[in-house]
């Protein structure tokens, strides 16, 4: 190779290599996304949440805590977690209401409806599916599953096409009007990687929510899974949710 050819190749090589490197870095973005504290090993965990339906009293503190902790817009159209109230009537009919969208809790107890034979509350949140349809459809890889099993959104990368919101069977996603990107429950990823509990679990007065690590041997969640009859939401869709409901009524979808 003579000097002239060498220079020509060199001139091409450096910008090309730099471009490729930048692209490779860009493409890799999703692989090592969320900032985690030093010493934290994501491969050692597989997070999930247990919901003890019988224990939920519908106080909405989890919803409030979540909104504050994660800067979720206060308006009643955006929720990372919410509470549904089910009322089973004597004739077999079911009425459902989302009690988290109410502007304020009712000042007086509601008059008892004699036709209601049974009532219960169901907390809902992202199911952190092991096989998440939202991750599958994201055109740019902005939403992804971490090695510890949490589905997150990279707000720097999300283009706001909302395909993931359509693909979620549980209505767990929304477009954050402030960032114009998709948003959802993260299990408070910034807290759990520090060894803390998600905000909703922390504030629950009745311990209706059990956060845990399905890889941990003596974990509370593992025990919860063992001793309770467990259901997940919409199992027919094969999303393999990691939010496990104990004693869930078949009416709940």
């Amino acid at each position: 190779m003579n000097k002239r050819d060498f220079l020509k190749d060199a001139i091409l090589f450096f910008p090309a290599a730099a471009t490729l490197q930048a692209l490779a870095k860009d493409a890799q973005g999703a692989a090592e996304p969320a900032e985690t504290p030093a010493g934290y090993d994501a491969t050692k965990h597989w997070y999930g949440m247990g919901i003890d339906v019988d224990k939920c009293i519908g106080c909405n503190r989890c919803v409030e805590a979540c909104k504050v902790e994660n800067d979720v817009p206060e308006e009643p159209f955006f929720f990372r977690t919410w509470i549904e109230r089910y009322q089973i009537h004597a004739n077999g009919e079911t009425t459902v209401e989302c009690i988290s969208t109410r502007a304020a809790p009712p000042e007086q107890a509601e008059p008892e409806d004699p036709t209601v034979v049974r009532t219960f509350f169901v907390p809902k949140l992202c199911n952190q599916c092991a096989h998440p349809p939202c991750v599958q459809v994201c055109p740019v890889g902005a939403t992804f599953q971490t090695q510890d099993g949490v589905v997150l959104v990279d707000a720097e990368r999300c283009i706001g096409c909302r395909y993931c919101i359509q693909a979620c069977p549980y209505g767990a996603r929304y477009l954050n009007p402030k960032t114009r990107t998709a948003d959802k429950c993260t299990f408070c990823y910034h807290r759990i990687t520090e060894g803390l509990l998600p905000a909703c679990v922390e504030v629950c007065p009745t311990e209706a929510r059990i956060f845990g690590d399905l890889k941990g041997r003596a974990d509370r969640l593992v025990r919860f899974h063992r001793v309770n009859p467990i259901s997940v939401l919409k199992p027919d869709l094969n999303t393999e949710p990691k939010v496990l409901y104990a004693k869930l009524d078949g009416e709940v979808r």
Binding site: C98, P133, C161
Partner: protein, 406 residues
């Protein structure tokens, strides 16, 4: 209070008031609104117009020759607009390039950019160039000043008009058309797959969706070319080629029958299987989509034009009446297919995935995601088409005396 835009708050509050039954709280907002209705509508017209054009080249349907170029330019004009509603709809339009840079292989949407570019650059522009090359060379020769430069550039500075070169043009354009047909199928079938593959939404999730989208695309594309052909003859006071029009009418009739059969099959299948979602879907159709689905899409947009086209074929009407009937049915079909897109896109977001309630959609009149933008986007292809007709007159060659090769 966290501040969300006033208009959004107002829209969502209004939509919340209209909710029937129980919905998940995040479902109040209509995620894909009017612009995403416009998008498959426009893409469908591209695919349909191209398939009509390909009948001439690949299947040698000589009767349709007079609208060959018209159909190609129509496809191009709509194609140039097809990406715009998507771009405008994004929360971060400036990040759209990410779809090309870091596409997610598992995403049905990620390939759209590539399919779109392939179709525009790999098929449509190449086919039009080969079709027009001879004319461009001649126009460059005959014009002066700036236009000479423009036509020379458009012909990519080719000058060869030898019989061999012209024969090659023909061969090449036929070859491109042959690849173009599966590509047009891909372009629109793929749009159907974006919806059909969403398992969370039973109104969308159907294997028939890509093929229903494709057939309705063919209907809308043929109807659009027919509409423009008749409209142009009225504006220019030119005589229509009735043989051509009758032939397009026949293809349109066949396409409607196939489309109707497929859509009917989809509904019958759903009703007969009667899965968990059937209750809420029935309510969706009765309370939210009755006018747009039963009245506009089915009765006005499909059965009425079907009846008209059958009548035109079975009764001997005079030319003027036939023209009027074709014009009417093409307009009705364009309306019907638009309704079909609406019913799929908006309809799929008017019932809760809890299967317990119905949402509402209040269309904004102004703003980005609004009726105004939608109308502008639907008008834009006609403006582009006017420019294209000026630049590349489809009938220019008819008035040329054969030029001796220098």
């Amino acid at each position: 209070m966290s501040a969300i835009p006033e208009s959004l708050h107002e829209q969502l509050s209004h939509q919340l008031e209209q909710v029937i039954g129980f919905i998940y709280p995040n479902e109040v907002e209509t995620q894909w609104a009017i612009l995403i209705v416009v998008y498959p509508y426009i893409t469908g017209i591209v695919a349909g117009a191209f398939i009509l054009a390909s009948l001439v080249k690949v299947f040698n349907v000589v009767e349709v020759q007079p609208i060959y170029r018209l159909a190609l330019l129509t496809a191009l004009a709509f194609m140039l607009v097809a990406g715009m509603p998507l771009q405008l709809h994004l929360g971060h339009p400036l990040r759209a390039y990410e779809i090309f840079m870091t596409p997610q292989p598992t995403s049905a949407m990620a390939m759209f950019g590539f399919v779109y570019l392939w179709y525009l650059l790999g098929i449509l522009l190449i086919e039009i160039w080969f079709e027009y090359r001879q004319q461009l060379v001649l126009m460059a020769r005959q014009s002066r000043g700036l236009m000479k430069g423009v036509y020379s550039a458009l012909s990519l500075f080719s000058r060869d008009l030898s019989p061999e070169a012209l024969a090659f043009d023909k061969k090449a354009s036929k070859f491109v058309t042959i690849i173009g047909i599966p590509s047009a199928f891909l372009l629109h079938g793929y749009v159907g797959f974006i919806f059909g593959s969403v398992k969370a939404n039973p109104w969308w999730g159907s294997v028939l969706m890509p093929i229903v989208f494709l057939m309705s695309a063919i209907v809308s594309g043929i109807a659009m070319v027919m509409f423009i052909y008749i409209l142009l003859s009225l504006l220019r006071n030119e005589k229509l080629d009735m043989r051509c029009l009758d032939k397009i009418g026949l293809f349109l009739l066949v396409a409607i029958i196939v489309d109707f059969a497929l859509e009917a099959l989809d509904y019958i299948h759903r009703l007969y299987q009667s899965e968990e979602s059937i209750g809420i879907l029935t309510e969706l159709v009765s309370y939210r989509l009755f006018t747009s689905l039963v009245v506009v899409q089915l009765l006005l947009g499909m059965l009425l034009p079907l009846l008209i086209l059958v009548l035109v074929r079975s009764v001997r009407f005079n030319e003027e009446l036939r023209k009027l009937l074709y014009f009417t049915s093409s307009l009705l079909l364009l309306l019907g297919i638009f309704s079909m897109r609406w019913n799929v896109v908006i309809g799929g977001q008017l019932y809760s995935k809890s299967f317990r309630g119905l949402m509402a959609y209040k269309m904004e009149l102004t703003g980005i995601e609004s009726l105004m933008t939608a109308l502008l986007l639907l008008a834009l292809p006609f403006i582009i088409l006017t420019v294209l007709f000026r630049l590349l007159p489809p009938r220019w060659m008819d008035n040329q005396v054969p030029v001796a090769v220098p």
